[in-house]
């Protein structure tokens, strides 16, 4: 392969092609899109958490300057519109279906969280719409807000017809086997875990521009979506009753999602609905406050964990009982996140013969909670990796060695866990060894002593995580209550001059697909990266695909591209055979050239492309013109990235401030397409995980008001909170996809919170501190030290 192209193929750290347009300010986001005659919509939101709406008087507002219309829940009901739906519904442990209360896109008679949509005000300008909204007189009859996860089940019902404010009560695993393990156990470890609630905070808030073309009776929606095809399906088929072919959904450049832009929210649907009803294009862009109040939050679990060890300190059983706060309404993956994306991961990287888990999904007067970077897997990893540290301490072992003792051994793959998943491949010890070497684990105590001399408490914390990504085999999804398939599509379109457009059903909102997917093409076809264009995000152009989340884009979407490329090469060979008057079977394709084996007779890729579209003498009975292939790829299994992250912290006991002083990780993501992009994903994931562990908390008060509804109160991690992160990789190639890849988008966010908290607890353990909840704020740490000292003095 020519030198230049080898440096663009698989394994090369090619600079991100998309960054040029971002850096020169030419990214095209939804808010950059304007339509002639567009109206602006402002959503009047509920200021109270739980209330019946007694009346809405919109008369004054309707007369205000610039106002065209005000729509409310009554209009939604009159037009018989549906609400957002759940894409995956697990069955209750008693065999019944979960509770899925309706979610009207504008509140109908009742509001259930602060921020719930009460009215949509359409006006010539956003200022006019906003001002008019202030003139709407809504009378609420308030009820006490239900915000506490622990007690919500005992409160009045938030939705009529629900029991115990519980959406579902689900279980997985063998309870009898686990009970038996606890009966036999030498040691039982009990840990109480709180996984704090966080807000995704994508840099670009959600936005929508919708228009209806009377001529061809067709809608177009531009929106900030991670999965425009799913958005089209949900809005068209389930919410607004629009034939799919009559709705085009475009997700242009999108500034981050982290899960929060998977779901269809009421706003986008209202824009589409109103575009026809009012005969004008409709524009909406959330401001930051609306993003805090209205975007799906993440995490928010309480778990009781019990681990059983035998006399050799081997784990023989695990039981986890979890309450998951899902908020006032369900969104697309709200129910699968705490169940199948969480419960199935509880074996971690450990050989655990018996596991049982029960998860209850709880309704509260808070905004909905759904998948957030990692989706269920960070929650599972956090509780397991914290428990591993507590257990190691309880049995007097070094946490690294306790983990090593319980690792699934290298020769046990494929490994069937006690919880449905089968890990295809992995090798966990070298990851641990490498990370320990990177941070000089064995000399930690001397660093601790040195810090102690400066009056600081130093600690080290390990997390050896696994995740299941590359979501997902449709058959498995279907068997577990999924209502979607999770294959991916790709179209490879070779153009007459040999340039190539790849149309993918995934969506890039920061992940760098323009570059990595193009590298796949360079590698297979031997063409220059500048000849490759990646097209995503437009339902009129791409084939039906499932979008980007669950670290699936490369493992599933990339494999689909690879398969379509294989088809292109296969057809290219037939064309070459025809042109070179050889047998199809004698054509070889290498380095961008089709050659008759054993001869120097060859055709370049470009010549084949041209002749495919200028087929002057094609034998049409066996060779169609054109060079364009489609592949749909449905994976055989999840992929299982794993690795070791180790954090080192220094704590100032006089203030409780935790400083992150070192971070190393060694991950196994299978083969790497672009190591630089992978490292970037790991950095971002770690930053979000450290954010959750040290800074971030979505705090509601007893009245259901979100106290942390701005950056003045919601603390995001910042660059100056981090040391330089040391990131390395080892590879065991995935066994069931063509590229041997596993996915890396969520790993950092999954691995990092327990590493950080384990380090904090480790730092404080000489003082007698045994636990700290996330986020480990200065006051919490300081208080833990005070309490431990008081206890020690008693």
């Amino acid at each position: 392969m020519p030198e230049g192209i080898a440096s663009q193929g698989i394994g090369a750290s090619v600079r991100r092609k998309e960054d040029r347009r971002f850096l020169i300010g030419k990214g095209k986001y939804t808010d950059d899109i304007n339509r002639a005659g567009q109206l602006h919509v402002y959503f009047l939101r509920s200021p109270v958490a739980f209330a019946d709406i007694v009346s809405i008087d919109k008369e004054r507002a309707e007369k205000a300057s610039g106002v065209i219309a005000i729509l409310t829940g009554e209009d939604v009901a009159a037009d018989n519109l549906g609400g957002p739906i759940c894409g995956w519904a697990p069955t209750n442990k008693d065999g019944s279906a979960p509770s899925e209360p309706p979610h009207p896109i504008l509140a109908n008679g009742r509001v259930r969280y602060v921020g719930d949509h009460v009215a949509a005000v359409f006006a010539e300008t956003l200022e006019e719409a906003t001002s008019a909204a202030e003139l709407i007189d809504v009378v609420y009859s308030e009820m006490p807000a239900i915000t506490d996860l622990k007690t919500a089940m005992d409160q009045p019902q938030i939705h009529d017809g629900m029991e115990q404010n519980t959406y579902f009560d689900w279980e997985l695993g063998n309870e009898a086997a686990v009970n038996d393990a606890f009966d036999r156990a030498e040691t039982i470890v009990n840990v109480h875990i709180r996984n704090n609630r966080v807000i995704p905070n994508a840099m670009e808030p959600r936005a929508a521009v919708a228009e209806y073309d009377k001529g061809d009776a067709r809608y177009t929606l531009f929106t900030t979506s991670q999965n425009p095809q799913l958005t089209r399906l949900v809005i068209g088929a389930f919410m607004l009753n629009i034939p799919e072919s009559k709705l085009r959904v475009v997700a242009p450049d999108v500034g981050g999602g982290f899960g929060s832009k998977i779901y269809v929210y009421p706003e986008e649907a209202v824009c589409v609905w109103a575009s026809k009803k009012l005969g004008r294009a409709i524009k909406w862009t959330a401001d930051r406050t609306q993003a805090f109040l209205g975007d799906a939050h993440g995490r928010d679990h309480i778990s009781e964990v019990k681990l059983a060890l035998d006399k050799n300190k081997k784990i023989i059983g695990l039981r986890v009982d979890t309450l998951a706060n899902l908020g006032a309404y369900l969104s697309a993956f709200a129910m699968v996140t705490p169940t199948y994306l969480h419960g199935t991961l509880l074996s971690g990287v450990y050989d655990i013969p018996a596991i049982y888990t029960n998860v209850k999904g709880i309704c509260t007067n808070t905004v909905n909670v759904d998948a957030y970077r990692g989706a269920g897997r960070p929650e599972a990893t956090y509780l397991l990796e914290r428990t591993m540290d507590v257990a190691a301490k309880q049995v007097g072992m070094d946490p690294a060695e306790f983990r090593r003792l319980n690792f699934i051994p290298k020769d046990a793959f494929p490994y069937q866990t006690a919880l449905a998943l089968q890990y295809d491949v992995g090798d966990y010890e070298p990851l641990l060894d490498r990370a320990m070497a990177m941070i000089d684990y064995k000399n930690f105590e001397s660093r601790r002593a040195k810090s102690a001399k400066d009056g600081k408490c130093r600690g080290i914390g390990i997390s050896t995580y696994i995740e299941a990504c590359g979501i997902a085999p449709s058959a498995v999804v279907g068997a577990l209550g999924g209502r979607v398939g999770l294959y991916e599509s790709a179209i490879v379109r070779v153009e007459p001059t040999g340039t190539i457009s790849v149309l993918t059903g995934t969506h890039s909102h920061g992940q760098g697909h323009d570059t990595t997917f193009a590298q796949l093409v360079c590698d297979k076809l031997g063409v220059d990266i500048e000849a490759v264009e990646i097209v995503h995000g437009d339902s009129d152009r791409t084939a039906f695909g499932m979008g980007t989340y669950g670290s699936r884009s490369l493992a599933v979407g990339g494999t689909a591209i690879s398969k379509a490329l294989d088809k292109v090469i296969a057809k290219g060979k037939i064309i070459a055979a025809h042109m070179l008057e050889a047998d199809d079977a004698d054509i070889e394709f290498k380095d961008g050239k089709f050659t008759v084996a054993g001869t120097d007779r060859e055709k370049s890729f470009g010549e084949i492309a041209l002749s495919a579209y200028v087929p002057h003498n094609f034998p049409h009975d066996r060779l169609e013109p054109g060079l364009e292939e489609t592949a749909f790829y449905d994976p055989a299994n999840f992929t299982y990235p794993a690795g070791t992250h180790i954090a080192e912290v220094e704590i100032d006991p006089s203030t409780g401030v935790v400083e992150l002083v070192d971070w190393v990780c060694c991950d196994d993501f299978g083969n790497l397409i672009n190591p630089m992009v992978v490292e970037g994903q790991v950095h971002g994931g770690i930053a979000q995980g450290v954010g959750q562990a040290l800074y971030e908390e979505a705090a509601y008060d007893d009245n259901g008001q979100l106290l942390s509804a701005s950056y003045m109160d919601y603390c995001m991690p910042r660059a100056d909170n981090f040391p330089s992160l040391k990131v390395q990789n080892l590879v065991t190639a995935c066994t069931h996809n063509d590229l041997g890849v596993k996915g890396c988008g969520e790993a950092g966010a999954i691995a990092s919170p327990p590493a950080l908290i384990n380090a904090v607890v480790n730092a404080l353990s000489p003082l007698g501190v045994t636990d700290i909840t996330m986020p480990a704020t200065p006051e919490k740490v300081w208080r833990a030290i005070q309490d431990a000292q008081t206890k020690a003095a008693e």
Binding site: E127, E134, Y695, L707, S708, M712, C715, P778
Partner: protein, 264 residues
């Protein structure tokens, strides 16, 4: 943001006139606090009177004090050789307000007029025993602050400048709120020939205050050791999602110790 009128005043008289002729006018300095408030529709003034052309940006040496014009930006204070020589603690304070963008627009006058309970300058004014000069009078720091976001200023009173006496030594130590990075507790310690003054911001329910107990302890023994644990009561301190009153009380003691050690 509600629509409003914008007037760029030529001088102070012009500014006062413009404000008087409005129903509910507001002076506009750096806009770092006022503009976000307007954007969130938390205020609805019918007129904004921009002070930027009134010639209020200056830093002068007055012998025993320095005098800083109200429209002097944080960045100008932070980079002033004169301030660095006279009151290095003030340089440090200004250099740690907000971020670069905020420091390039925010002004000392705006900060003192706004009197945010978590702002930094109020601690400097109070600890240094400074004076606020307006078009009609001079107000001693002691008489200037009047609780959270409240001051002795009349509606149409413009801060011209502030005078800050030069201490023997001083230091400002801020424990930033992790989210906003305003002061969760900020302590300004200033040592003068006639005694020590300690002002605390970010913590008090009524905004900035002088910590008389700490002053007494430091007057007896100007050393970090003079500040014992538990010397600061949590009475009258704020509690919020970031810090309880108890923790703030502890931080006041700790930041005071650090300030004493950092005094130059």
């Amino acid at each position: 943001m509600y629509s409003t009128k914008y007037v760029k005043a030529r001088d102070i008289d012009d500014a006062v006139k413009a404000l008087k002729s409005a129903d509910d006018g507001k002076f506009l300095a750096g806009g770092m606090t006022l503009i976000p408030t307007l954007k969130q529709r938390l205020a609805n003034p019918d007129c904004l009177v921009d002070l930027s052309a009134c010639g209020l940006s200056s830093i002068d040496d007055e012998g025993s004090a320095i005098r800083i014009g109200a429209m002097t930006r944080h960045v100008d204070v932070a980079e002033s050789a004169l301030v660095q020589k006279a009151i290095p603690a003030l340089t440090h304070l200004a250099a740690h307000i907000g971020d670069r963008q905020v420091r390039n627009r925010g002004t000392i006058g705006g900060s003192l007029a706004n009197n945010d309970p978590a702002a930094c300058y109020p601690a400097a004014l109070l600890a240094l025993g400074g004076t606020v000069h307006t078009q009609s009078r001079s107000i001693a720091a002691e008489d200037y602050f009047d609780g959270m976001f409240e001051t002795a200023l009349e509606e149409d009173e413009i801060i011209h400048a502030v005078s800050l006496p030069k201490p023997e030594k001083a230091a400002y130590v801020k424990f930033p709120n992790p989210a906003s990075r305003y002061a969760m507790v900020g302590v300004f310690v200033a040592k003068f020939a006639d005694g020590v003054r300690v002002a605390v911001t970010g913590a008090g329910e009524d905004g900035v205050f002088r910590a008389h107990d700490l002053e007494a302890a430091l007057n007896a023994n100007f050393s970090a050791d003079a500040i014992a644990d538990g010397m600061v009561s949590s009475d009258g301190l704020m509690s919020d999602i970031h810090a309880s009153a108890d923790y703030r009380a502890h931080l006041i003691g700790e930041m005071t110790r650090r300030a004493v050690n950092a005094c130059t």
